[in-house]
């Protein structure tokens, strides 16, 4: 994939201090195009369907919100907690704004945990973007697959 002007702008928006203090790229030195290409390959290798994964993450978020800020057991297998902060975050691609909702999902039998946000779901679903390596909210595909039992 080429670094189009759209990707260049998105990558600029992902730098620390633009949309979030930490940014979206972590310690990753690759350009956005390479990150997207390599993560897409890994998703194919691990047989993670991004649409299916995004659907499950949204299900966790919506069920977790029913706990009103306290952890809640979802589908008998996961403990989910959602934390909502004031305000919104703009997508780095500038195609939507999202509530600041942090979600923690823990698999009850193994204790594996995954953190993501409302924006993470959109980034995965619409842009195939998992965030850069070292970023706090990067969706680690191996943990994701294991945690979601995909």
């Amino acid at each position: 994939m080429k670094m189009t002007p759209e990707l260049k702008k998105a990558q600029e928006n992902m730098n620390p201090g633009v949309i979030t203090a930490e940014g979206f790229l972590g310690t990753d030195k690759r350009n956005l195009s390479s990150i997207l290409d390599e993560d897409a390959q890994m998703m194919r290798r691990l047989e993670v369907n991004p649409d299916e994964a995004a659907r499950m993450l949204r299900h966790f978020m919506e069920e977790g919100q029913k706990g009103l800020g306290e952890p809640v057991t979802v589908d008998g297998r996961w403990i989910v907690r959602t934390d909502e902060a004031r305000g919104h975050l703009v997508c780095p691609w500038e195609d939507g704004i999202f509530r600041k909702i942090n979600v923690t999902v823990e698999r009850k039998d193994t204790g594996d945990k995954l953190y993501f946000t409302d924006l993470s779901i959109h980034l995965l679903e619409t842009h195939g973007f998992l965030e850069g390596k070292g970023s706090t909210f990067r969706l680690n595909l191996e943990i994701l697959a294991h945690l979601l039992m995909l």
Binding site: I19, A21, E22, E84, A85, G87, K100, T136
Partner: protein, 371 residues
Amino acid sequence: MDFLVAPIAVAGIAGIMATLVALVDMVANNYGEVTIDVNEGKKEMTVRGGSPLLLTLSTEGLYLPSACGGRGSCGACKCRIISDIGPYLPTEIPYLLPEELKQNIRLACQIKVKTNIGIEIPEDLFNVKQFSATVTAIKDLTYDIKEVLFELGDDTIDFEAGKYVQLVIPPYDKIKESTQRAYSMSSSPSNRNQIELLVRLVPGGIATTYVHQHLEVGQKLDLIGPFGDFCRTASDAIMLCIAGGSGMAPFKSMFYDMLDKDETNREIWYFFGARTTKDMFYLDEMRELEKQLSDYHFIPALSEPQEGDGWEGPTGLITDVLDRYLKETIETEGKVLEGYLCGSPGMIDACNRVMNDNGVIQDNVYYDKFA
């Protein structure tokens, strides 16, 4: 030497262009000194133009609420602009209601001060100060909630119970800029030299991670406040207070304030929700208040009590417990009820629904809608 002519010519042209750009920038972006009139003459300040209003005001010691440090992602720094400062920016619109747009309410972090302007802010913001505080105690209340006590040194804070401060988090690890987050004060206003906060760890959260993993006793940290409208009324209406987790903070402050002020006869029902006993805290302190406040009722409830918890109190989501008590236990006939909520926007929406369904009018429900 001819091979040097082209690079030297290019470097020369580039140098001239850079000088021109710098000169144009100096002229075009030099707004000189401008004045900001606050609340029709209550305060007037002469400042250097060109910076965002939020930053300009804080430099002059006037602090507006801001939960994102001026990044335009919280929508908290609203103020009314009296002068014409140009059209709304796309970054402001999502945070403003239609009636706010009609009143020329703007986000102070997004607009720049380029000419003389007049602004209107709530009067109580003149009372807001920046404190250089020292951490004197950090206590684990649960596995993910810490009680942090700050000493203000020679400084003092005057506030109404229920208000919040903004904790200024310095750069650390991957975080290269200072960040601010809002926390309700849990200390009583009578304690004017100290501020106590309850901070629940949010995985990935910048401020809560700092407090839980980096903050140490003896360390200095800045606090800005007090802010907020979440305070109890002076009426004798029944107080229905609902919280979970660190939402305990403003209620702890309110109840101890009532004790300090000898307001001990008001009917209060305090519903506090947690998932398991591991998430529950201050049980002894809140139950002890039942001996000191004559009509105070503490109702802790667990949504998912575990085997071996030994829990004998109410169970279910706190909204369900509230609903049951309003229908079966609290005598509401002929009485005025007020709702006081502290929690996430989702929790507040759910509590509002239960209260409205049980006859509590929306105008009598109070909250600060932030986590």
